[in-house]
């Protein structure tokens, strides 16, 4: 593969969305608020990400990691996997956006701002995934916070402002801790004789991690786990999640829950690789498993008393991120495969769930669970999509999360008594969440149509992304097909030691 092509493939996922964002910003006169062919141009940038991801998925497992701009951008199998996740989820979310904006009756400036921010957000996520430098990774992730803050506060209502404030303050504080951790790691690297230029360069650090001072790495990794954990929705800095996801526009909530949290978690995984090489896997295992169990317990407890379906989905995200964290804690190759499957599967399923949830809010004017009844009868297509998405999120076959949770359980029980105990506790908590989520979904979906109104049609435009997401999730759970090599290679990066 030529160097130019590699550079192009690595640049496009960042540059494409940035260009799109700039184009939207430059367009002074949006013809109509939403809809029309112009609205669909927004699909170009996520498709760029997806296509670059696909192209890299072919080359990277075969030829090893690709780099560009003097090792500023670097795509290994893990990055490519995440790029695919971003591309897939973003394509669905962007396809759902015109419909969302049309329903919101947003005025042209709002629509423009929405598009500008969403595409910039995509660029930031791609950058975070492709960054070889841990500092750049951090910058990109903090950039996503800032960009999404406006998207969370998109509607400027009291609730939106409140959610945005909490989001920015909690996430910024958390991510600042991650930066402190990064600084300490840099200090350790410099003291280990690594040059200034490559002291934050991930491949260099990972290769020479065994020389780092254990005590400093321990402190730094702890801070990073707390910090990126905040962004990934792990306890203790998790509390912004339900507020932000509940107030953000549905496609943005889908993006945040579906990929942003896992992008942050992948960042964390990069540090974990370094820490494991420096300290052995025990430290991060205890840390991640502890946080994962805490998060699972919180999510289960809060799901049990939940009365709002968007917040319910947010807590379900916490639950899934905790399972992903648990998989990372287990850390065997099988667990790593499970984690990656979980990330992509959860992204797709949660996107569908959030988009469907947005439609439900629009249909009933509320997100209270108690106010939604007989959804399957009232809006069959929407109800079915929501039901299937929840089924996928509950970890039932044929969706990818089933395969992932199966792999996680097998890996966890094989990784020693402590992991097995943690996993047993996790399974009990997952069961609680399952029941809570199931009861609430059943309440919303089942029963006769309220008021005997005729069924509401969802329409092809709104329905297509939902169907595509579900199909993708199911296909991934059935067979990984051409992605198998990529999956194995990516798993080797985080669990191959």
């Amino acid at each position: 593969m030529t160097h130019a092509l590699t550079t192009a493939l690595l640049t496009a996922p960042v540059a494409g969305p940035l260009l799109a964002s700039a184009a939207y910003a430059a367009r002074r006169r949006p013809a109509r608020a939403a809809g029309g062919p112009a609205a669909w141009l927004g699909l170009l940038s996520p498709l760029t990400i997806l296509l670059c991801g696909a192209a890299l998925a072919v080359t990277v497992p075969a030829h090893g990691a690709a780099t560009a701009y003097g090792r500023m951008l670097r795509a290994d199998a893990l990055s490519v996997w995440m790029l695919l996740a971003i591309g897939a989820v973003a394509t669905l979310a962007c396809a759902a956006s015109p419909g969302y904006l049309a329903r919101e009756d947003a005025d042209p400036p709002t629509v423009r701002r929405y598009h500008v921010l969403v595409h910039a957000f995509l660029a930031a996520m791609s950058a975070a995934v492709l960054a070889a430098n841990l500092g750049v990774l951090w910058t990109a992730i903090e950039a996503t916070t800032i960009l999404t803050a406006f998207l969370v506060g998109h509607r400027r209502t009291r609730a939106c402002v409140e959610a945005a404030w909490k989001y920015v303050v909690i996430c910024s504080a958390g991510i600042a801790l991650a930066f402190l951790g990064t600084v300490l790691l840099y200090y350790a690297a410099r003291q280990a004789g690594i040059s200034e230029a490559s002291a934050l360069d991930w491949p260099a650090l990972a290769a020479r991690a065994d020389r780092l001072d254990p005590a400093v790495v321990r402190l730094g990794t702890g801070l990073v786990v707390l910090g990126f954990g905040a962004k990934a929705g792990l306890a203790p800095l998790h509390a912004w999640l339900p507020d932000a996801y509940g107030q953000a526009p549905a496609p943005v909530a889908a993006l945040m829950s579906g990929v942003l949290s896992s992008v942050a978690f992948t960042g964390l995984l990069r540090y974990k690789v370094i820490a494991d090489a420096a300290l052995g896997s025990g430290y991060t295992r205890v840390l991640l498993a502890g946080l994962a169990l805490l998060t699972l317990a919180l999510a289960a407890a809060l799901l049990l008393g939940q009365r709002d379906h968007q917040r319910m989905l947010a807590y379900s995200s916490m639950e899934h991120m905790a399972l992903i964290a648990l998989g990372a804690a287990v850390g065997t190759p099988l667990a790593a495969v499970a984690v990656l499957l979980h990330i992509l599967g959860h992204g797709l399923a949660k996107t569908v769930a959030f988009c469907a949830s947005g439609h439900i809010v629009r249909l009933r004017g509320t997100s209270r669970i108690g106010r939604v009844r007989g959804l399957l009868a009232e809006a069959p297509a929407l109800g079915t999509a929501f039901a299937l998405a929840v089924i996928a999120l509950l970890g039932l076959p044929p969706f990818a999360l089933f395969a992932a949770e199966l792999g996680l359980a097998r890996a966890g029980f094989a990784a020693g008594p402590y992991c097995a105990a943690a996993l047993a506790a996790a399974l009990a908590l997952v069961l609680t969440s399952f029941a809570a989520l199931g009861i609430r979904t059943a309440r919303m979906l089942l029963g006769p149509p309220p008021g005997g109104r005729p069924p509401v049609r969802l329409g092809a435009v709104a329905g297509l992304p939902l169907a595509a997401g579900l199909l993708g999730c199911a296909a991934l759970g059935t067979a990984t097909g051409p992605l198998t090599r990529l999956l194995t290679a990516a798993a080797a990066i985080i669990g191959g030691h």
Binding site: A143, R158, W165
Partner: protein, 232 residues
Amino acid sequence: MNDAVYTQLLDLACGAFLLAAVVVLWLRQLASIVRVFALQGVALAAVAALLGTYDRRWEVLAVATGIGVLRAGLLPLLMRRALTALAPAPGHPYEEDVSEARETEPLVNVAASLLSAALLTLLAYAVARPLVELNPTPATRALPVGLAVVLIGFFTLVTRRRALAQVVGFLLLDNGITATAFLAASGVPLIVELGVSFDVLLAVLVLRILTTRMRAAFGGTGLDDMRELSDR
């Protein structure tokens, strides 16, 4: 500059840096808090400059200048303007209302806050021991100061009821991290530093905009009003 003077000056700057953080906890007037924060920015810039001068690394000096401009100039300026924007307009019926300008009643009262700050500083010393032991130089010996400011900043964030006070808390946290970076390794690579500063600036801008919207939506910037989104 000989070693003794350098150490003296560095310790002085670090002391001022920590003191400023503690004073922020002590004060109630938001305007004074912003002023003290600006002073802390100066101390931070001084630390950076001292390190650069001692190591004769001129690019560090440049970074120190940038930091000085940002932390002692730009950010306090932004906050002062936010503060004036928040103050009731002349002729407003609540013109005399000073609640927007004061952190009247923090979640943890001032005495307890100061005590906590002392404990947090001790914690920072305990935690930073391995950092110092790795490479004991005058700069790294001051590392606990950076960590202490991080903790104090976080503490401010948790306990202050005014939106602006919380922003200051966040910035204290950030100052602490920057100080740690300088003391530990003379700062992170330039591109990272740029990115970080840019992000911090943007974060403050976002928070400022949100403060304005908050005032429009809630009629004030008291964070206790914002409890609509909950599971209760």
